[in-house]
């Protein structure tokens, strides 16, 4: 799993690439939490091919940690398989997910 900061001005954009499973979830969560600053953050998901049970928990923990710090986190462009998993398990209700980057940016006034 690679975690890349693609933009960091008034908005932070973090791109993920790889699978979030038991091997990567703790590290991914820790890496992203470390990157959080007091600014809206978009996490780009199109290159995340698979999210396992522990991966779901990582996504939720990131969102909860951000919320506790007053930071808005948006997950954008998850692939259909990942969206399905989020829907089936109900995790989608606890995460802020939007279909496209344009949607995410528009919400933040861009």
């Amino acid at each position: 799993m690679t975690v890349t900061v693609e933009r960091n001005d008034n908005i932070k954009i973090i791109a993920l690439d790889g699978q979030i499973d038991v091997a990567t979830s703790d590290q991914t969560c820790a890496d992203i939490v470390k990157l959080l600053e007091k600014k809206p953050t978009i996490i780009k998901m199109p290159k995340v091919t698979y999210v396992s049970s522990s991966g779901l928990r990582a996504l939720l923990m990131i969102a909860k940690t951000a919320k506790s710090q007053g930071i808005k986190v948006t997950y954008a462009e998850a692939v259909p398989e990942v969206v399905d998993v989020l829907q089936m398990t109900g995790f989608i209700k606890m995460l802020h997910c939007v279909p496209t980057m344009a949607d995410a940016l528009k919400e933040l006034g861009e």
Binding site: V22, A23, S53, R57, Q87, M88, G90
Partner: protein, 663 residues
């Protein structure tokens, strides 16, 4: 930092240590996974580890001699990828059939405490039968974001139960949901359940079972174990009912269903099958219990054969202390970690049988369940009979705590509704809470679960559309399914070329049934689909029909709006009248809470010819006091009834709270 959570030994490349002996099954601990298993007769035991779905294990680790206390083996294995892991046990011991020992060290066995079971991840996907190890234990993450949810605290008096099959509820195209036939699909239908107004959803078995058990092909059609009354593992939700089963996420998906039901004020009750397992008799497969500790888990004859009080090959030895503990732990687990609100126990009379098969007066299992601290707000409903001839409706060992499926209610009501004579006084009892069966002083107001239809038998529509069962498609030459249906086709068998007047009469009959059911004292239960006239085409035992016979056809909801509206109104009516739930106080001037009447007030006719039932409910709550008259008449033509003199608001009451049923 715990000093007892570091490896003490190695086995090959694996770091291990003696485990947590009190934690049955597999649990994630810091750095590793704890595995614990009990067997009274095992000489030795091996832990067998597989990568997901692989045929051959990647490790077989024997429990070392010093990893055993009493008859419990326990070991922590470190550095395992728990998501990509399936595990089982191999247990060695003597083979002595008459003594009940049938150990076979070559069989890899499912953990009786497995919280996830893989092997049947996607419903109906043909299994690879060449694999030795079919049903595989997996480790579960028990954490879940409940967002404050707990089992609902509302009174059991407010229960209106809706009995449904997870798959059948939304599998049909007409359901319109995204994840058809699954927990997630059911969750999508919650707004419908809320609109209908029911307060509890009771699901046919959701513990892992094998839909391919006893699968057959009849006339080119595949028949499966669709209902699932044959448990493989008691702690695991059926993977094939989860849209996410292929990702092993059924635990999260099921919990989310529970959370959403609760958000909408709907309780969840599970139909649980502890009377037998899927291992059958001496010809059945080794899945788990048989190879781990046969004589502990099953009631055996003196020659080592299986007693068959369940009609399904074996009988779980429910009052053995170890099995008792498994059942209790299981139910506590479903309440504490899944927030389930209650249970309906299939063939519950077996849960009161002794280890030799005889019925007990004070069965320790039933007593433990009745007094368990975690279960103390859960509703416990017994199907108070078994296939060994024990019929305990009214006499089930209840500790003032257990409710029962009231089989007498169903039988009396069906016969009365179709017009049989001599039942008026029985029906008066049934409507009034069956106090002739359930002593109110001891059993309270929620002992009787009233139902006219359930998964077993005709649907409500079929009850008035078929004189005879039509089970040919089940492949048993019509010999399966009950013959005591007490049904009446209203003068026309089935639906082909159905005359309009017959259709009208059937709808009227369905409304009669709904009206009585929802105004009876006790807990009403509705079979899913009855509220819109769902038909099973006369099949009264579609346990094997995974097709349109069993799946609800949601097009009927549009076609039969009159029925849906009637059910919905009757449910709302029940909720508006605390007197029907016995949630009101007596009226000061002295009317009894429930009284029966004839054509003349206070003069119930007990003669066998009588076909007229009048019931008056009277009570008040803090806001208002009221009487409610219910009068029923089996005569083809209406009879007029003189109502009991009403209180101050009589004209309003008579107008608002009176329903007459009849032909």
């Amino acid at each position: 930092m715990r000093i007892d959570l570091h490896p003490t030994d190695t086995y090959g490349d694996f770091k291990i240590r003696p485990g947590l002996f009190l934690a049955n099954g597999a649990h994630i601990v810091p750095g590793g996974i704890n595995f614990t298993i009990y067997s009274s007769g095992a000489k030795s035991c091996e832990l067998v580890l597989f990568h997901s779905h692989e045929r051959e294990p990647f490790a077989v680790i024997p429990f070392p001699e010093n990893y055993k206390i009493g008859n419990v083996f326990s070991m922590i294995v470190f550095d395992l990828d728990y998501e990509n892991l399936e595990y089982g046990f191999r247990v060695d011991g003597e083979y002595n059939f008459p003594l009940g020992n049938v150990f076979d060290k070559n069989k890899t066995l499912l953990d009786p405490y497995a919280k996830i079971i893989s092997g049947r991840d996607v419903w109906g996907e043909e299994p690879d039968w060449s694999k030795d190890f079919q049903y595989r234990s997996k480790v579960s993450l028990d954490d879940f974001d409940w967002e404050g949810d707990m089992p609902l605290r509302t009174s059991q008096k407010e229960l209106i139960i809706y009995e449904a099959h997870v798959r059948g509820f939304t599998k049909d195209e007409s359901s319109g949901v995204k994840f058809k036939g699954t927990y997630a699909g059911l969750r999508e239908k919650i707004p419908y359940l809320k609109e209908l107004g029911i307060t509890a959803l009771e699901l046919l078995p959701v513990f892992e079972f094998d839909e391919f058990e006893g699968a057959r092909e009849i006339d080119g059609r595949k028949l499966l174990n669709y209902w699932g009354y044959s448990t493989v593992g008691f702690f695991a939700p059926k993977a094939g009912y989860a849209a996410s089963g292929k990702y092993s996420m059924q635990v999260d998906e099921f919990k989310d269903l529970v959370k959403e039901l609760h958000k909408n004020g709907i309780k969840i009750i599970l139909d649980v099958v502890f009377n037998h397992t899927a291992e059958g008799n001496e010809h059945g497969p080794y899945i788990s219990f048989k190879g781990i500790d046969n004589k502990t888990y099953y009631i055996l004859t003196p020659d080592g054969y299986y007693y068959n009080f369940s009609g399904c090959g074996n009988t779980l030895n429910c009052n053995n202390p170890v099995v008792r503990n498994l059942i209790l732990t299981c139910l506590r687990y479903w309440v504490a970690t899944y927030h389930v609100d209650g249970f309906r126990f299939d063939l519950a009379a077996i849960l009161g049988r002794n280890q030799d098969g005889s019925p007990m007066n004070n069965p320790p299992l039933l007593e433990s369940l009745a007094y368990d601290p975690v279960l103390s707000s859960s509703i416990l409903i017994a199907e108070a009979w078994d296939s060994g001839g024990l019929y305990q409706v009214g006499s089930f060992p209840n500790y003032g705590r257990w409710a029962e499926w009231n089989g007498k209610y169903r039988d009396d009501l069906c016969r009365f509704l179709k017009g049989e004579a001599g039942l008026a006084h029985c029906v008066a009892y049934r409507i009034a809470g069956s106090e002739d069966i359930y002593d109110r002083a001891w059993r309270g107001d929620c002992a009787s679960v009233n139902f006219i239809t359930c998964h077993d038998g005709f649907t409500l529509y079929d009850l008035f559309a078929y004189n005879d069962k039509h089970n040919e498609a089940n492949g048993w030459g019509g010999s399966d399914g009950g013959n005591d249906n007490h049904s009446w086709n209203c003068g026309w068998e089935g639906d082909f070329d159905l005359p309009a007047d017959i259709k009208y009469l059937r709808h009227k009959m369905i409304k009669n049934a709904a009206a009585i059911l929802l105004t009876s004292i006790g807990i009403p239960m509705i079979l899913a689909g009855d509220e819109f006239g769902n038909s099973q085409y006369g099949n009264n035992n579609p346990y094997c029909q995974d097709n349109k016979t069993s799946w609800l056809d949601w097009n009927d909801l549009q076609k039969n709006q009159d029925l849906f509206k009637f059910f919905k109104s009757m449910i709302a009516f029940r909720k508006r009248h605390p007197v029907l739930m016995r949630m009101s106080e007596g009226i000061p001037i002295g009317y009894p809470a429930i009284s029966s009447h004839g054509v003349e007030a206070w003069q119930f006719d007990y003669s066998p010819e009588n076909r007229f039932v009048g019931i008056m409910f009277a009570g008040k709550n803090s806001r208002r006091q009221r009487q409610l008259h219910l009068s029923g008449n089996q005569h083809a033509l209406g009879k007029s009834q003189r109502l009991v003199a009403c209180l101050a608001t009589k004209s309003k009451l008579a107008g608002r709270s009176q329903y007459r049923f009849g032909r």
